[in-house]
Symmetry: C2
Subunit: 317 residues, 2 copies
């Protein structure tokens, strides 16, 4: 049976996983839904009995719906790339039909689409993290300047970050997480919802990559004073896989279960006292750079999950 | 405690429900998130203990998060209506922060946002309906002309409808459900995903409005030959609340539970033999016209659910 991989052509990280699937002899169909219709096409028939019968056809191959073993969603583009007439309409109709057919199949997804949608709200992430026993930084989400000023007065050190977490480089609308100076003017908060946090005095960071129930805890030490290691050249940081406290492992698994995620990249700030502050989860977070820096076998774990979606609890490193 | 109503100013159907809430003395705050920031503002603070503390302020009033009893999402606009600088960015950041704060509260929603998102895929709706025991029409979703032609050959009568179900009037991109003539040319199917169905020879239609576990089954008889009663003037149709078979009631409740919906408008076509064919659910479907035509107390049931979200199973009519 075939693993269906939905991602863009330029996604090289997917190749890391596909190499393991190929080595194990598992058939793979990789495609970008952006190419539908045109270079990717499909037909899904609902029978009176209620099943879905049909197939997807691409230039590289064809797969019957009944032959799909699992679905891996990496970085697909929106359908309708080649639509020249009413492109928005084609994109909407094709997205609903293509993903609707896949959603109707009884196969495991990494990740289920609803689970990913649920993680897009950082306020709720922090509350969920707290509920499963993690420590979270005091945070404010607001459009009211006086509330921001009051929150700032209660902070030793204050940072501002994007609410949505959209990457600052594309489009260049946002900024990396930044420190806010004492006595700052908060009147601009009335123009857009703003996220302020009490800064966690971190001596190191944890990027916890989770694949099913396998945990890859990577400790990252950036140069002193760097607030957001993700915007630092990798060679400037130290990377090390180390074990994490069993309570944190348990909380992380409960967090994933609460969202219905089977893949996630969780970020924590670690204080001198060894406290882990949960910052956020990215359900589509990159893993290639962690594997390259530490040799943690993440891509192999993903390939294994896609082949046998019921992997056992384990902690590498 | 307050019922929070998220909808546009021009939504008159919301007034029907708010009237019942007011009569019962239940405080209501009605607002459109489109007015945030500017005429609607908020502050949500995550405490170290993990709770959400804060409030929403509008020109009409203010509510503390701790005082929100339930949330009714009707027809809200996207945040950021008044943003003059970087409006897309403001809309995204504010949507994530505002709805994130509300999602972090432990209160019932009509409907939960993830539940609504899940219903947007008609292919999956049909398969879910079949799984809970409903009858569904043979349907094809495809971008492949030969598959469409083959499906057409197996049909006595064939119809084409929008996949997404977007309303045809706004924007005028789509069409009402239409019959397809024998011998039609299907080459256009390659331009966009298309939904074809074997026509159910309906003598009447059922609009089943569900509020929690209360069912309002409205039988609609349009003039002979009319395929889609929703585009027919209401006075041309007969409207009648009647009971439905217990198996259908059971299936409808299971369908709602499968999606996590507490409100839904389900449409069925009824054949001469009395068979109910499930066509679709609309999680944001209108109910005002059913209440006006039949006096079914739907708005009262919604008000009751928003006040006491654990209503008992019953069937009106």
């Amino acid at each position: 049976m075939t693993v269906l991989v939905l991602t863009s052509e330029e996604d090289v990280t997917a190749d890391m996983v596909i190499r393991h699937l190929a080595a194990a002899g598992t058939p793979v169909l990789r495609l970008d839904p952006a190419d539908c219709p045109g270079r990717v096409d499909f037909a899904a028939r609902i029978t009176a009995g209620g099943g879905v019968v049909g197939h997807i056809a691409t230039e590289l191959g064809r797969v019957d719906f009944a032959d799909i073993r699992s679905i891996w969603v990496r970085r697909p583009g929106p359908p309708g790339r080649y639509a020249d007439v009413q492109p928005e309409w084609v994109a909407l109709e094709t997205e609903r039909a293509f993903y609707g057919a896949l959603r109707a199949l009884d196969v495991p997804w990494m990740n289920p689409p609803e689970a990913v949608a649920g993680t897009q709200y950082k306020v709720a992430q922090l509350v969920t993290a707290r509920r499963v026993g993690m420590t979270v930084p005091a945070s404010l989400f607001a459009t009211i300047p006086e509330e921001a000023a009051q929150f700032a007065r209660a902070a030793e050190d204050l940072i501002v970050k994007s609410v949505s977490g959209r990457h600052p480089e594309n489009p260049p609308l946002t900024f990396p997480t930044s420190r806010v100076e004492a006595g700052a003017d908060f009147s601009g908060v009335s123009h857009s919802a703003t996220c302020l946090q009490h800064e966690v005095r971190a001596v190191a960071h944890l990027r916890l990559t989770m694949v099913g129930t396998r945990l890859f805890p990577c400790f990252i030490t950036p140069p002193a004073g760097v607030l957001d290691w993700r915007f630092e050249p990798t060679e400037n940081c130290q990377w090390e896989i180390k074990s994490i406290p069993p309570e944190l492992r348990k909380s992380a698994l409960e967090f994933m279960a609460a969202y219905g995620l089977v893949y996630g990249a969780l970020d924590f700030a670690i204080t001198e006292e060894g406290e882990f502050y949960f910052l956020e989860v990215n359900a589509k977070g990159q893993f290639g750079f962690v594997e390259l820096q530490t040799r943690a076998p993440i891509s192999e774990a993903i390939a294994t999950w896609l082949t046998e979606p019921r992997s056992q609890l384990s902690c590498w490193g």
